[in-house]
């Protein structure tokens, strides 16, 4: 049985145990080796893909080093987001304050790179030494004539979710600052897709085929000027709701823009997203084109998916991801491959998310909030998982135990969204589950001996 810290016992739920109860949305237990990052990480992942903005990390060097060019968020044009800029605060800066250094850094970098806007991430130290980041941003904005936006992402001021919110607040300051001229009534913003491996290009093309204009991608392949006129779109489509719901709600309040929660992952969710969008516009012609698109795409991918399914069906999967909403899609996508999810967890899910997961999952499935390596390793063994889905930090846990692994995080370079993405996903699942290397790992050797 898996060891669980006493203070974490209520963050693990096994379906079947009634009544349903799970603790979540709380600070990680001290010393528990949480897989979570921090507020800064939340802000940084959300804003990272905006390719024509300058991203300056204000603080000592670590935060900038560890986030330099680590994500697979592609840009069709400028690549400024792939560079790492830091004020690299030194001991004397910590004593005397880092405001002057920040201002000088902003000026020189804006002069060198001509960004359309700049985001300034205030990390732990900036907050503690009391630098007036807002004032410096305002000053730099006036001096250089571009928006310079503070992102209050001090690592200790909450969890990753608070970082999402800080990012949304910065984005919200941009929206509405450019003319919405030329935007048609059948238009959307794509919120919460980060264009990993070019996924947003695929999604965007679907909408264009349906006759829907995409105004702003927030933030995958994002551009400052698109974001500035995002208030002109008729509808916000919100994926990764954990990170973007705050922005969607703020936009609804300020500009009246309605929103839909969608997911582009897996055939069912992808089709659902397109149909929901088509239905919103109440235009029979859009609906007809959508049906045609969905049928065409499904016909294209199903034969391949079926091929992979024959090999992987019946295998058991575990999921541990950042946001719970992604887990819903994964459970459904695995079901399409006739695979069973026996473990599912997230870093930042809410009670509603976990409740929904519980409804979606089979009896006995472990549902866990803010887990750690020891727990995850225990669950993998207890549930005899064949395939684990997670990010970089989860990968070595699976591999060490001879369990297949599929990367579903921001670092990945493989497109998994959209209809074509489902084929890639099936191929990746297949290539890990069916690899002959497991014959040498002891877990499988034992299985084969039975």
């Amino acid at each position: 049985m898996t060891d669980i810290l006493h203070e974490r016992e209520r963050q693990v739920y096994r379906k079947g145990a009634e009544p349903f109860q799970i603790d979540c949305e709380k600070q990680s237990a001290a010393g528990s080796v949480s897989q979570r990052a921090c507020v800064f990480c939340g802000s940084r992942v959300v804003l990272y893909p905006i390719a024509d903005a300058l991203h300056v990390v204000h603080g000592p060097i670590g935060c900038a080093s560890y986030t330099w060019d680590i994500r697979g968020a592609r840009s069709s044009g400028p690549q400024l987001h792939r560079l790492s800029f830091s004020t690299d605060l030194q001991e004397m800066d910590v004593i005397r304050g880092g405001e002057k250094k920040l201002f000088a850094a902003l000026c020189e970098l804006i002069d060198a790179h001509h960004p359309k806007a700049a985001f300034v991430y205030a990390t732990c130290i900036a907050g503690i030494i009391g630098d007036d980041v807002n004032a410096i941003c305002k000053q730099a904005s006036e001096a250089k004539g571009i928006p310079v936006l503070p992102v209050h992402s001090e690592g200790f001021k909450g969890t990753k979710k608070d970082g999402y919110r800080a990012a949304c607040e910065a984005l919200f300051q941009l929206i509405g600052t450019a003319s919405p001229e030329g935007i048609v009534p059948t238009s959307v913003n794509i919120l919460g897709d980060f264009n990993l491996a070019g996924e947003i290009w695929m999604i965007r093309e679907y909408f264009e085929r349906m006759g829907i204009q995409v105004v702003a991608c927030i933030t995958g392949d994002g551009r400052v000027n698109d974001i500035r006129r995002a208030h002109g779109a008729a509808l916000n489509l919100v994926q990764c709701s954990g990170s973007m719901m705050y922005l969607a709600k703020s936009m609804k309040e300020r500009w009246g823009t309605p929103f839909l929660r969608v997911s582009y992952f897996g055939i069912e969710d992808m089709a659902q997203a397109l149909y929901d969008t088509a239905r919103f516009f109440k235009d029979p012609e859009i609906m007809r084109r959508t049906q045609e698109l969905v049928h065409q795409e499904i016909d294209k991918v199903m034969p391949q998916i079926n091929q992979y399914r024959r090999d992987v069906q019946g295998k058991k999967a575990g999921i541990y991801v950042g946001g719970a909403f992604k887990a819903f899609s994964l459970v459904r996508a695995l079901r399409l491959l006739d695979m069973k999810t026996v473990l599912v967890g997230s870093q930042t899910g809410s009670r509603e998310d976990y409740d929904q997961l519980r409804e979606l999952c089979d009896e006995g499935t472990i549902i866990v909030d803010d887990s750690n390596p020891l727990e995850l390793a225990g669950f993998l063994q207890e549930k005899e998982v064949d395939l684990f889905i997670g990010g970089v930090k989860e990968r070595p846990i699976a591999y060490k135990l001879g369990v297949g692994f599929c990367d579903h995080n921001h670092e990945r370079k493989e497109a998994l969204a959209g209809f074509a993405g489902m084929v890639n996903f099936a191929r990746e699942v297949h290539s890990t589950v069916m690899s002959p290397v497991w014959q040498f790992t002891s877990r499988r050797r034992k299985e084969m001996a039975v």
């Binding site: 670590g62 080093s65 330099w68 070595p396």
Partner: protein
């Protein structure tokens, strides 16, 4: 073309107009850092001690970011616990978080040691971690408490390398027994080298019939076999008992020319317990490796074992075989200062000009160290410490090197220039087996030499008009 490269091109163009190869402008900001922060180095050290768990006192994110960075290089689990500061801990102090964190780690991991490194956050608010650790140990007097070692690693001072050396020193200073039994072993402090390097160093010591304590030793904890049960703390690492006996050792050997004047573990053992400290450069290249072997020969009082003489001989033979392929080539070397010094030593003895030796470190000793080991370098060598990758890239455009030698993070520069990158050091995030790259000794130099020559040959072959398969 990206916004960034077009800006660079514009800049280069305007420099050409000026008709003088002026240095690119210097920046206040750090652009694509060529360094990491201090607690990362300390975490690596703690991971290399038997039964130890690294623990960061500060925000949760620091531990997670460092874990991800280290995991992507070693491709192994790397658990780093954190006390996980909240807003109130930042205001009222993180003592309670530290206490609960240490307790939780003790319960979950059952460690024999917890290595506590500080983050910039707890350093800035002025936490007296040493006192907290003392109090914790006193309060738990009736319970089995793991050994606690604390090291101060604020990321606004120095780099991951400084954190690494500081942690080695703290471990030794905390654990070494004041009244040591004389022991025949040698303390070996290799610095931040690869798992393959550590295994090879242990093998060399064994061949000299010297018992050795290598600190840290993550050769198994960060490069272990496939398992059927998850190890809370992976097997391997420097035995704590061995570290306790460090004060009675026959001698210490410590690598790193940039740290020779610093208060390191070897310096501490020498000044406190009179353990003779041999402070050498990283043994890369024949000259530096000869110095290492000659030191071992003196300590062990026996000749260099035949198999190592043979490896040395084969290495010289290969230098001769390959010398024309490399002579006069221009290389940029970057990374940790001591690795850069070692690589410059190797390049100088095979006729490659290290046109730029660059590091994000700023020990202040880099220039001097390079002058010492490569006094007769045939070309002009520019030495840049406290620099970053964008500065290196800007200089590279002017210097027109034939190859780059360093970690994965220089790949973008190599790609822009269309020249090969020979991957060494940490991190290797874009290849498999980065942790198994051997750099040290005759054998490591052999592998580096072969890879350097072959990278140049491959580049020549790929860019040649005629695709000869016979070179």
């Amino acid at each position: 073309m990206s916004a960034d490269t077009s800006a660079l091109t514009n800049m280069t163009a305007s420099l050409n107009i000026l008709q003088k190869p002026a240095a690119p402008p210097s920046y206040v900001s750090t652009r694509n850092a060529c360094k990491l922060c201090a607690p990362l180095g300390a975490s690596l050290v703690f991971r290399g001690i038997e039964g130890a768990v690294p623990f960061l006192h500060g925000s949760q994110g620091c531990a997670t970011y460092m874990r991800r960075y280290i995991i992507s290089h070693f491709r192994e689990p790397m658990d780093i616990a954190a006390s996980g500061f909240s807003e109130s801990s930042a205001i009222f102090g993180g003592g309670e978080n530290l206490r609960r964190g240490l307790q939780n780690v003790s319960v979950q991991y059952k460690p024999s040691m917890i290595g506590i490194a500080t983050t910039c956050l707890c350093e800035t608010i002025g936490e007296d971690v040493a006192a907290m650790v003392r109090e914790y140990q006193e309060a738990q007097i009736d319970l089995p408490t793991p050994q606690l070692v604390h090291v101060s690693t604020p990321s606004y001072i120095g780099t991951h390398v400084d954190g690494f050396h500081a942690a080695v020193r703290s471990v030794v200073a905390t654990l070494a027994t004041p009244e040591p039994e004389p022991s025949h072993h040698v303390n070996l402090f290799p610095g931040m080298v690869s798992t393959a390097d550590i295994r090879y160093l242990k093998e060399i010591a064994e061949d000299f019939e010297l018992s050795s304590i290598v600190l840290p030793d993550y050769s198994e904890t960060l490069d272990g076999p496939a398992l059927d049960a998850y190890e809370r703390i992976p097997a391997g690492g420097t035995p704590i008992q061995g570290i306790r006996s460090a004060a009675g050792a026959r001698a210490s050997i410590e690598f790193g020319r940039s740290i020779r004047q610093r208060d390191t573990a070897a310096a501490f053992l020498e000044s406190t317990f009179g353990v003779r400290a041999h402070r050498l450069g990283l043994p890369i290249g024949i000259n530096e490796t000869d110095r290492f072997f000659s030191t071992l020969k003196d300590i062990a009082d026996r000749p260099v074992p035949r198999q190592h003489e043979m490896e040395r001989g084969r290495l010289i033979d290969s230098y001769v075989d390959g010398h024309k392929y490399v002579f006069g080539k221009r290389a940029i070397v970057y990374g940790e200062e001591d690795l850069v010094v070692g690589l410059a030593a190797l390049l100088a003895e095979i006729g490659i000009i290290p046109v730029l030796c660059a590091s994000g470190g700023k020990s202040g000793a880099l220039r001097q160290a390079i002058t010492e080991i490569a006094p007769s370098s045939p070309g002009v060598t520019e030495v840049c410490d406290d620099t970053d990758f964008m500065s290196i890239g800007e200089k590279a455009k002017l210097l027109k090197p034939d190859l780059l030698i360093g970690n994965s993070k220089g790949y973008g520069i190599a790609r822009d220039l269309g020249i090969p990158l020979v991957r060494v050091g940490f991190p290797i995030h874009d290849r498999i087996g980065g942790q198994r790259i051997l750099h040290l000794g005759y054998r490591g130099t052999q592998q580096l030499f072969d890879r350097i020559v072959n990278a140049l040959l491959e580049h020549k072959q790929q860019t040649a008009e005629v695709g000869y398969s016979y070179l």
